[in-house]
Symmetry: C2
Subunit: 462 residues, 2 copies
Amino acid sequence: MDRDERPEDIVKALKSIVGSQWVLTEETAIEGYLRDETPEAIRPHPAPWVVLVKPSKVQEVSEILRLANSRKIPVFPLGGRTGLAGAAIPVKPGIAISLERMNRIEVDLENMMAVAEAGATLGDLIKAAEEGGLSFPLHPGDEGAQIGGLIATNAGGVRAVKHGIMRNFVKGLEVVLPTGDVLNLGGKLIKNNMGYSLLNLFIGSEGTLGVITKAVIKLLPKARYTVTLVIPFEKRRDALQSAQLIMRTGIIPLALEYMEWEEIERTSRHLGEAWPAKGKAQLLIILSEFTEEGLLQGCEEISKICEDNHALETLIAERKEEQDRILRIRSNLYTAIKPYVYDILDVTVPPGRIRDLMDKVDAIAEKYGTRIPIYGHIGDGNLHAHIWKEEGRGLEFANKVKKEIYEASRSLGGVLTGEHGIGKVRIQEAHLALGEKEIELIRAIKGVFDPNGIMNPGTIAG
Amino acid sequence: MDRDERPEDIVKALKSIVGSQWVLTEETAIEGYLRDETPEAIRPHPAPWVVLVKPSKVQEVSEILRLANSRKIPVFPLGGRTGLAGAAIPVKPGIAISLERMNRIEVDLENMMAVAEAGATLGDLIKAAEEGGLSFPLHPGDEGAQIGGLIATNAGGVRAVKHGIMRNFVKGLEVVLPTGDVLNLGGKLIKNNMGYSLLNLFIGSEGTLGVITKAVIKLLPKARYTVTLVIPFEKRRDALQSAQLIMRTGIIPLALEYMEWEEIERTSRHLGEAWPAKGKAQLLIILSEFTEEGLLQGCEEISKICEDNHALETLIAERKEEQDRILRIRSNLYTAIKPYVYDILDVTVPPGRIRDLMDKVDAIAEKYGTRIPIYGHIGDGNLHAHIWKEEGRGLEFANKVKKEIYEASRSLGGVLTGEHGIGKVRIQEAHLALGEKEIELIRAIKGVFDPNGIMNPGTIAG
């Protein structure tokens, strides 16, 4: 349903559900909710009107959805708006739901799980886990990301090599269906084989099946010994060769990142920091082990491999502040480059083909006479490639470059997106990696949960 | 469609697809394909007639399904028939597909993945991984289990604590839909966020959505240092307390098993072996580390925790043959107890509640004046409880005991099954852990893939 004007009776009904002060319609009050971290050039435009509601409990979410469903009004569940594919932007007139008031977290030490409401942030979760004597190892970029969004996008990020991505940590979900039904899927359970995994269907569903309101998240014991290594090389191929050999040793790092001098230096300047190592191609490795000896031996083996492959030096950061500083600079790579790029891609290939992918990306840059800065989670085969804003060359140019990078990924057995999702900006090209039949099935499954199509319209699911 | 007589035109058509010698109809030739490892007392009866086909490639599977679908004939994909919930038993007249001829495995060292056809066995995969310089750590019981079945049941077993269950290892699938369409989901990819995870929907779907014909399975580097600990205690609570403290240290064992003297002793006798440790309640722990020092420190810390909690001694097996022997005896616990039981349950609770679950199971045994032998993957909160065949007390008694154990699990936040699945023997009680709405969604999703309901009818999906 596209409506020209905001239906005031709906606003009134929403106010009676959540209370007047939690229903916002003024542009100035809601504009910050209508964008995410997608580069501006390609970010979808929000609809002419959107009503923003901020429920405080699941019953309110349920009533909002029941109302919206009965009137066939689109509903856009928002997270922390840190997405990079425009998934949460309300592109049709309708109701945007911010779960920011639903941000409680309980840590259950006995079962080593957290129960987090969807509006709690990644930062909140990391802190709560630590205060509860445990840890949450993932670090998908911005700590302002919300739990619901992390799950709806199956977020990854750095520190996902050893223990996996969001999918590996989510054990239970409370979700509200468009009908208002509240489902409790899974629980504080490591194993659960009760029929099709509806839980895994919601993970990565980008708000198209219902609203995630709460999650049970597996935690780990506190990390005992961690170290961050920064290892610069003159040549990219040496860095990548080293990375591949490291992955085969059996040392599973928490993070295994690749980046290049120009980008990490720009970011350091942007933050008023100095990056501790020079060299065109660099590896950033975080190790986390339960014994000090294991950690030391891991460092030694990694250093040896890198030295044998012409590393310039190995910088070892042991102090927490220094490790945090390095991670912070790494996590800001995108922030620093964002103003200069049309798009940030997150193509993903079989991990052993990452070098071929980079070579292909270089060839594309040369072909188009542009630069395509890259860095990525190479332990996972996941590469971020950035399409540079070239003066006088607009979106048409950007789209051509993008499509060639997608095709390069496909030719190596890869996909278009390993973490950001299809969202609202990769639909046109999704068919490059999804067959017609798969898209048909995705849409039919969407129809099972949301026959009126009210949940986050404008995605690949419809 | 239930037919009294085998339609000979179908047999003829199948013969023209796979070749005459790969279509079997004689009872003596196929009876071994019509049962699994479910205890006989509760195992479903196969249908009066079943045609067994043994395709050699995916195109043949596709043609078989297209034929069956056009005639609305039930299709039962078989695995290695090692299941414990009757999931693969053809309970209606139709076509059973054995994929035993599709058993190729390729190991890709560069990407650290195996590509395995569905009919290859777990034993084949473990061996191929080792020969390829890598390893597959999972060990869900019987090595005759086939890859397709391991995935269709999302198998777990021992050695699943450190790296997870099948769901964590399956990265790509080739599946054939009832229409004959062949889908390739995922690939040699660690990360993939291209829409709803149809891959995860097939994992644990018990053959109800289509036929899994091939899988991409993540492998790990060869284990460098492993050790098996057997730690006996006089009291169960001390063993469980130790297990919980071990899990909090940050040492993540490959396996963390609990068992009791009577069962392990019976199994050892059954195999003509001697179990190396005495004590009512025992922990079996397998550690796998990449440094020898890490392994030694792990052993020390675990021993210290157990000693502080009144362990009788700690037996450390370092030689491969000794470790294999211990694992073999453990893996035969079920084989040895099978003739004496009505059922083997695999209830699963939040890991910290396993002690409460065992107490409840004891109370149920006392209430009914029976014994309920237990053991389990306690690192995962997963308990096997066995309903003893009491003379003169039939299935009605067994069902009562079973239902009480299920309810005990539910009352602790658990589910009925953490690994064996609902199959065909747990449908009656599934509603204890699945809401009406969830069952409705499961059936509607099934309808999307298989509108004629030909795939493995007789499960919770319809």
